[in-house]
C-alpha cells in the first residue's frame, strides 16, 4: 500500500482535463435542478392564461402586464405594505430585546446560566403550535387583538430565542479582554456592550437581522392564526396561499405573484450574501 514513488501521486490528477469536464458537467446538471423551477415559474408568469393550460413551454407572447395585474389585485399592495412593516418593525424589536440577553449569556457568570441556555434552545426548537391555543385565547379574548399583526409583533420585544442563540454564539468569540479594558476605562456593562462589543459585532448583527427579517417575511402560521379573519391585515405569505384559489386556474397570475413575493428576499440576499452565509455557519456546532 505504501508507495512513496512519484508515479502514484493522485488518482484524480491523472486526467486533469477529463476531471474538469466531469466535475463541471455534474455541477451544471445539479444547477439545473436548482435553477429550472425559477425559469419555468418566470416563463409561466408572462404567458396568457389560455397558454398556461396548453403543453407549450415557451411564451407565445410576452404578457408583461401580468405583473401589473397582480399588483392591482385587491389586497396585494396592502399585503406588501403589511409584510414590510411587520418584518421591519419585528426585526428592530428583536435586535433591541435579544442582544443584551445574548451578551449576558455569553459574558456574565451566574448561577443558572446553563439552565437559561437550555431554555433558550428549548424555546428555539419549540413548534409554535404547541402553545398556540392559550396564546390565541390570550391575544384574541383577553386583549381583543385578533385581526391584527400585534400578537406577532409584541412578543418580539421580549427576546427571540433563535436570535439570542445566534448572537450568543458570536459574542463568545469576542475576547473578554476588550470588555475588561472598557471597564477599566470606566464603562459600565451597558456602555461596554454599546461602545465596544457592538461595533465589533456588525457582521453578526447583520446576520441576526437578516435571519429574523426572512423568518418574518416567510412566516405563514402566525398570520394564519391571528389575521385570517381580516384580509386587510394579511401578509404576503398568507395572501399568496389564497391567491391561487381566488384566481381559479390563472396559473400565469399566480406565478407572477409568486415571483413578486420571492424577489425581495432574493435581492436582499445578493446585497448581503457574505453576512448571511457567515450567519448560517454560526448556527452549526464548532468542530
Amino acid at each position: 500500500m505504501v508507495s512513496m514513488s512519484a508515479s502514484a501521486p493522485a488518482s484524480h490528477r491523472r486526467h486533469p482535463v477529463l476531471e474538469w469536464v466531469a466535475v463541471h458537467t455534474l455541477a451544471v446538471t445539479v444547477g439545473l435542478f436548482f435553477a429550472l423551477p425559477f425559469v419555468f415559474v418566470f416563463l409561466t408568469s408572462v404567458m396568457t392564461d389560455q397558454q398556461t393550460l396548453t403543453r407549450d413551454l415557451w411564451p407565445q407572447t410576452w404578457e408583461w402586464h401580468n405583473f401589473v395585474d397582480v399588483w392591482r389585485t385587491p389586497g396585494f399592495a396592502t399585503w406588501w405594505r403589511n409584510t414590510i412593516a411587520y418584518a421591519t418593525l419585528g426585526t428592530a424589536l428583536t435586535l433591541v430585546s435579544s442582544i443584551p440577553v445574548a451578551y449576558a449569556l455569553a459574558h456574565f457568570r451566574f448561577r443558572g446560566r446553563n439552565l437559561a441556555m437550555m431554555v433558550v434552545v428549548a424555546t428555539m426548537m419549540l413548534p409554535p403550535q404547541v402553545v398556540i391555543v392559550p396564546m390565541y385565547l390570550f391575544w384574541a379574548k383577553q386583549l381583543q387583538l385578533s385581526g391584527t399583526l400585534w400578537p406577532l409583533i409584541i412578543p418580539l420585544a421580549f427576546g427571540d430565542a433563535f436570535s439570542i442563540f445566534l448572537m450568543r454564539q458570536f459574542l463568545l468569540s469576542v475576547p473578554k479582554d476588550y470588555v475588561e479594558a472598557a471597564k477599566i476605562d470606566g464603562c459600565n456593562d451597558l456602555q461596554a456592550l454599546l461602545r465596544v462589543v457592538l461595533p465589533m459585532s456588525r457582521p453578526a448583527i447583520a446576520a441576526v437581522a437578516l435571519f429574523q427579517f426572512f423568518y418574518l417575511w416567510n412566516d405563514y402560521f402566525g398570520p394564519q392564526i391571528y389575521t385570517s379573519e381580516n384580509p386587510a391585515a394579511w401578509t404576503l405569505s398568507y395572501g399568496l396561499a389564497s391567491f391561487k384559489s381566488a384566481h381559479h386556474t390563472n396559473w400565469n397570475l399566480t406565478m407572477a405573484a409568486t415571483l413578486l413575493v420571492m424577489a425581495p428576499v432574493i435581492a436582499l440576499f445578493f446585497l448581503a450574501q457574505k453576512a448571511f452565509i457567515q450567519g448560517v455557519t454560526l448556527t452549526g456546532v464548532k468542530g
Binding site: V23, F34, F108, V133, F138, A246, V265, G284
Partner: protein, 325 residues
C-alpha cells in the same frame, strides 16, 4: 484604585466593595440584562405550556368555560381520533426520508462546490438561492411545475415516453413530491457542510493519498470522522424541523386540491387522502376549525415531547452545541 477615579461617573464601579455588595450589584445587573427575556419566557412559553397541559384534561370549545374530563381527550386522540396515527406515520416517513436525503445531498453538493474550485462561488450561490424562497412561494411553484395536467415535469416525462405520476394529487406520490421540494431548499445544509469540509486539514488528504487511498476511502477515513459532529447536528435539527412540518404540506394540499384556504372556511387537511397530514396541522384543524381545544392540546403536548427529546440530544454534554469556545 484611586488612580482610576477621574470623574464622578466612574466612582461607583471602583469603590472598594464588600463581597456581598458586589454580588448584589451583579445580581441587579444580570436581572437588568435578562429581564425582557425572563418576562417573555414566562408569558409566551411557560404560561401557555402549563395552560396547554391543563386544557388537555378538559372539554373546552373556546366559548364556554373548560370542564374537567380527566384523561378522556387522551384516550380519544390515541384510540378514536382517525387522523392521529396516519399523521404519525406520515411524520415518520417524512423524517426518515427527508432528513436522510437532505444530509446526503447536502454533503454531496458541498463536495461538488469544493471540487469545482474556480467558479465554485457561482455554483454555491445558485444552489443556495432556493433556500431563501418563502415556503409558500416555493410550494406554489412546485405544485404548479408538478401538476399532472399541464406541469412542466410531466410534459417533459411524456415527451420522453416515461410514466407521468400524479405528484401532489396522488397519495402515493405526495410525500415524494414534498421531499423534492425539501431537497430543492438544501442550501442551508450545504453552507454548513461547506464550512466544515474546508476545515479538514489538507495534510490528512495528502497523507492518505500517499498511502494509496482512493476517493472513497479518503472520504470514509479522513473526511467522515472530521465532519461527523456537524452531520449529527444537521440530522437532529433536521428531525426537529421535519416533525414541525406545517406550511409546505398544508399549502400543497390546499392548492393541489383546489380548496380555498381563506378566512374561516373549513378545509380537509392532508389532501390527497390524508397522505400529507402532520401533527401541527392536526393542532390547527382540531383547535381552530373544530373547536375541540382539549384534543388539540393533547396533540400539541405529543409534539412538544417529541421535539424536546431530540432537543435534549443536542444539548447533551460534549455535543458541542452549547460549547463555550
Amino acid at each position: 484604585m484611586t488612580l482610576t477615579i477621574e470623574g464622578s461617573k466612574r466612582r461607583s464601579s471602583y469603590r472598594p466593595v464588600t463581597r456581598s455588595a458586589r454580588r448584589r450589584r451583579d445580581l441587579v445587573r444580570n436581572l437588568a440584562f435578562l429581564s425582557p427575556w425572563l418576562v417573555g419566557t414566562g408569558l409566551f412559553f411557560l404560561y401557555p405550556l402549563v395552560a396547554t397541559a391543563y386544557f388537555s384534561f378538559t372539554h373546552y370549545d373556546g366559548f364556554t368555560a373548560p370542564r374537567w374530563t380527566g384523561l378522556q381527550n387522551w384516550f380519544y386522540v390515541f384510540q378514536d381520533y382517525p387522523f392521529f396515527w396516519p399523521a404519525m406515520r406520515n411524520t415518520i416517513w417524512l423524517v426518515v426520508v427527508i432528513v436522510t436525503l437532505r444530509v446526503l445531498v447536502g454533503v454531496a453538493v458541498a463536495q461538488l462546490v469544493i471540487a469545482v474550485k474556480r467558479g465554485g462561488g457561482f455554483f454555491r450561490t445558485l444552489y443556495y438561492a432556493p433556500y431563501l424562497v418563502p415556503p409558500v412561494a416555493g410550494t406554489l411553484a412546485f405544485v404548479f411545475l408538478l401538476n399532472p395536467g399541464t406541469g412542466v415535469v410531466n410534459i417533459v416525462l411524456g415527451r420522453l415516453g416515461l410514466p407521468q405520476p400524479g405528484w401532489f394529487n396522488d397519495p402515493a406520490w405526495s410525500k415524494p413530491s414534498l421531499t423534492l421540494l425539501a431537497l430543492w431548499t438544501v442550501g442551508d445544509l450545504m453552507v454548513i457542510f461547506l464550512a466544515s469540509l474546508l476545515d479538514v486539514p489538507q495534510e490528512l488528504y495528502e497523507a492518505a493519498e500517499l498511502d494509496g487511498a482512493g476517493a472513497v476511502r479518503r472520504f470514509r477515513f479522513v473526511t467522515l470522522p472530521y465532519i461527523r459532529p456537524i452531520l449529527v447536528f444537521a440530522a437532529v435539527t433536521g428531525i426537529i424541523a421535519t416533525m414541525q412540518y406545517y406550511t409546505e404540506p398544508l399549502v400543497a394540499g390546499q392548492v393541489a386540491s383546489g380548496q380555498i384556504g381563506g378566512s374561516g372556511q373549513q378545509t380537509e387537511p392532508g389532501y390527497p387522502d390524508g397522505s400529507t397530514l402532520t401533527l401541527p396541522q392536526l393542532v390547527y384543524n382540531l383547535g381552530f376549525q373544530r373547536f375541540d381545544i382539549g384534543a388539540a392540546c393533547v396533540i400539541a403536548l405529543v409534539l412538544f415531547a417529541l421535539c424536546m427529546v431530540f432537543a435534549a440530544l443536542l444539548m447533551r454534554r460534549g455535543s458541542g452545541f452549547l460549547a463555550e469556545d
